[in-house]
């Protein structure tokens, strides 16, 4: 073999080796072609007006009071009196215009989720109390994804006749009047309840990883109570908390489920994600470049948040300085007032946040749910429909197939990219590292729009062209979208696995005369198979519940639509049934629980959800 300057520079190895080059180039090109270029295609459209480069669409968005409105319009709460003489406060939020609303909602959701996540994480990391195991399990429940139905149950909870009023107004008389939460306020609540465990998991890991002697030293110098928390504990956990919070910010920004469920109130529609979605779906044929411009604005916000946090976290990655110190976790019994908070405030809060998932299960087995606190009447009709109706079955099979195909690609992508980035240090290494993680920061709806413009222009009048109304087959596009969007889940896991395997094992093998191919397949892959499996399962599960691309591009031809597109249809249409959607939600929950339990049993590791770093 001869020495190659190029190989050394790009791939970090002076010998040109096909396998190494492939490991770099395959994931690199794949992400460039199927993520970066589609986004650029959209960029090109957003920045052109009447054939020229122009900021026209951005100007038109940012100067229209529909998108940006100061001062805000509307009343935060409206008081009404019912026929029976009861006071009801309707809380919907106020309207700053679509773009600012999205920011305000995402910021509020992030704030609420961070508060709740951090508090739960702190008590779980630092206190030993009765029922802790229940807390531990319950805190995972909100992470079970049931697109639409979850938000639907939350909406029901906050109706004037719903669970919240039943408990706090009718039973406990804590509320002096009934409340009804709708519109943007409803979206904020639904998202905060769904996403706070993401902060919880990140914050919990941070609290647990703080070297106990750091807090002991502060105590020893006279600090205690809240001062100790403020000066030492919290700052040390902050990078983790901030990483979780950023994920929540991005997820809230891109979320479609909550706005769609709350769309009965027009205010809930005034969010960027919903606007892109509805303009896309009902614009038919002539989709205005305004959508592209709006997508770019949303993408910019998400990417800025993402890059900001990566910078911040990498600056403050406190490799704990501990040397030889004994690791004695700081857990203590809560003082009486702390126990009171745990049982009187946090426990009920936790129960409320897991109610949506419980509600989904109840709903799947009930005849109806109109204005009552709980769904009414028991029936297995909808579960039967889900299992035996050929149409419904088709959606399930579509989703299973697309997800399985995506997982194959994801495994290939994550193994190659992780191998390249963990073993070689070329110019391309940091590039690839960023590319693999960047899909987290790209909202699903942006991917969908990017694909729309990309495939309609590059493959016009083929089954890949979304504007080709009668013969568009979304299968290929969906598989691509899933493989890109869920890649970070798996890549992280595989990368972690590779870091555990010392390079010397491979070097020994190559030194004994084995080829690189033989070394990778014979030594490395078996050693990281559990990580590959864990990552693959996670990617599969989250592909099954993928929403944004599924309900946009996926619903253009219902013959080939995935399960989430169908769920959206039956939730939105008057003739549809929330119960059938709930039954499908139960199916998804079951798949998620089974997979996670399976992964935890087989890999003996705790896989839960993605972090950011």
């Amino acid at each position: 073999m001869k020495v190659s300057k190029w190989s050394e520079k790009l791939f970090g190895t002076p010998l040109f080796e096909p396998l190494v080059s492939f490991s770099y180039l395959f994931p690199l090109l794949y992400i460039v072609v199927f993520l970066i270029i589609p986004v650029l295609a959209m960029l090109a459209i957003a920045f052109s007006h009447e054939g020229h480069f122009s900021l026209y669409w951005f100007k038109s968005i940012l100067t229209s009071s529909y998108y940006v409105q100061f001062p805000p319009q509307g009343d935060f709460a409206i008081k009404t009196v019912t026929a029976t003489g009861e006071t009801v406060y309707l809380i919907r939020g106020i309207d700053f215009g679509v773009v600012i609303n999205s920011l305000v909602v995402a910021a509020l959701v992030t704030l609420l989720a961070s508060l709740m996540g951090t508090i739960f994480a702190f008590i779980m990391a630092r206190y030993e109390f009765k029922g802790k195991n229940f807390f531990r399990i319950a805190l995972f429940i909100p992470l079970l994804v049931t697109p639409f139905v979850n938000a639907y149950v939350i909406k029901k909870m906050f109706l004037d006749t719903g669970l919240i009023n039943y408990i706090f107004y009718e039973l406990l008389h804590i509320l002096p009047f009934r409340i009804k939460i709708d519109g943007l306020a409803g979206v904020v609540l639904a998202q905060a309840m769904t996403y706070y465990p993401i902060v919880y998991l990140n914050a919990y890991a941070s609290f647990i990883n703080i070297d106990p002697t750091l807090e002991e030293q502060a105590e020893n110098l006279g600090s205690k109570g809240f001062h100790l928390f403020r000066t030492v504990t919290f700052p040390l956990a902050l990078p983790g908390i901030a990483a979780g919070a950023t994920l929540v910010f991005i997820f809230s920004l891109e979320d479609l489920a909550a706005p769609i469920v709350f769309q009965g109130d027009p205010l809930a529609k005034k969010l960027m994600s919903y606007q892109i979605f509805s303009k896309f779906l009902y614009g038919l044929g002539e989709r205005s470049p305004e959508i592209a411009a709006l997508s770019i604005i949303m993408l910019t916000l998400a990417v800025l948040a993402f890059l900001g946090i990566r910078k911040y976290v990498s600056l403050r990655q406190y490799a704990m300085l501990s040397k030889g110190g004994r690791w004695k976790p700081r857990v203590s019994k809560p003082k009486p007032w702390q126990a009171a908070i745990i049982y009187v405030v946090l426990l009920p809060l936790l129960l409320l946040t897991i109610f949506p998932q419980i509600g989904v299960v109840l709903l799947a087995f009930s005849k109806q749910w109109s204005v009552t606190v709980m769904p009414q009447g028991f029936t297995t009709e909808y579960v039967k429909q889900m299992l035996f109706n050929p149409d419904v079955r088709r959606y399930i099979i579509n989703s299973l197939m697309y997800s399985a195909a995506a997982v194959v690609l994801i495994v290939l992508l994550s193994v190659t990219s992780s191998y390249a980035t963990s073993r070689f240090k070329g110019v391309l290494t940091p590039v690839l590292e960023s590319l693999v993680i960047i899909p987290i920061a790209v909202p699903g709806i942006v991917v969908a729009m990017g694909y729309f413009y990309f495939f309609s222009q590059v493959f016009p009048n083929t089954p890949l062209d979304p504007t080709n109304i009668f013969s568009f087959n979304p299968a290929f596009v969906l598989i691509l979208a899933y493989s890109i969007r869920r890649l970070p889940f798996s890549a992280r896991s595989v990368y972690a696995g590779l870091q555990q395997v010392h390079v010397s094992l491979e070097e020994a093998s190559m030194n004994l005369g084995a080829s690189r191919w033989k070394t990778v397949t014979g030594i490395l892959l078996p050693l990281i198979s559990l990580n590959v499996f864990g990552g693959a399962m996670l990617s599969f599960v989250y592909s099954m519940s993928e929403t944004s691309v599924g309900i946009t591009l996926g619903s253009l031809n219902m013959q080939y639509a995935p399960i989430t597109a169908f769920m959206k249809d039956i939730m939105m249409s008057a003739a549809g049934s929330a119960q059938l959607a709930a039954a499908l939600g139960v199916l998804l929950i079951t798949v998620q629980i089974l997979s996670i339990v399976l992964v935890n049993i087989i890999t003996k590791q705790r896989y839960a959800f993605i972090g950011l770093t």
Binding site: E216, N220, H227, T231, Y318, L321, G325
Partner: protein, 356 residues
Amino acid sequence: MRKLVEVKLENIVKTFGETVALKGIDLHIKHGELFTLLGPSGCGKSTTLRIIAGLDFPDKGRIFFDDQEVTYLSSSERGAVLVFQNYALWPHMTVYDNIAYGLKIKKLPKDEIEKKVRWALQLVKLEGFEDRYPTQLSGGQQQRVAIARAIVVEPKLLLLDEPLSNLDAKLRLEMRSEIRRIQRELGITVLYVTHDQEEAMAISDRIAVMNVGTVEQVGTPREIYEKPKTEFVASFMGKTNVIPAKVVEREGDKVTVEFEHFRLEGLTYTDKSDKVVIVIRPERISLHPIENAVKLEGKVDLIEYYGFFIEVVGMFGETRIIARTISDKDVMSLKPQGPVTFYINRDDILVLPKQL
């Protein structure tokens, strides 16, 4: 407020699950003393320190600072400041903020805090490092920040857990005398932990030698070195000859002991047990005749040259005994496998009950 504090531990017992870390420790540390806990790894030094600092609480026993019982007083109220074995520097604070932390808690005015921090930085020779973060410091520098952070609050009791373990030899000697100087200047009581007997000897007013959760002996460095009370203490205080032997005759507190085919008469020993060890420091063995000494005849196994001294390892039957001399003349006539005679004053032979 008087600064000097006197510390008393009464029968401190501490267990961690199955391990008994401390098996009933009694200590009395006097005002303004530099007192050292010396012992091998895992003997309970850090545990003792943590209990005195109020970071762990004993299962049994009591602790007094002067006449006040503090056994269950929380660490933040105790004023016994600990420098952790792993430094425990806060990675999110600069060197300056680390050092200023304790002063801020005391709510000192800003300019006074600044003055004191500068003083402390100067003391540990880290001027100019105040804006760095701990990750940007070497191990030794981190250790010095930890010391500065503790000293700056002028604690009434300073607890140091192997504070010099990460410094190079030269800096270690410097810091050692610095600590000594600071301690005298500020008049604080210092409890110092180390597993390095030489360091302990050099720095301490008194030493407690610990072994698996017990205190074996307390005394001045000289007492501990010259008159170890147990086999463990003897063997822990530097290189020494510890030879298993048997008491074969007793007369009052004089005994005759035997090892191999050697009989050593007229040694002092009072314990009841007949299984003993005889302890002889290598530098107390003479290679040339002295009056009235015990004479051991054997053969040379090894001669080792250490620079400023020479060691002769003799074989006496199966027993190896090391003698140390600073005189080349003593060894000139010796050669490996050749005969050698060791002369030892009876006063330099310690007989202790067999223990290990």
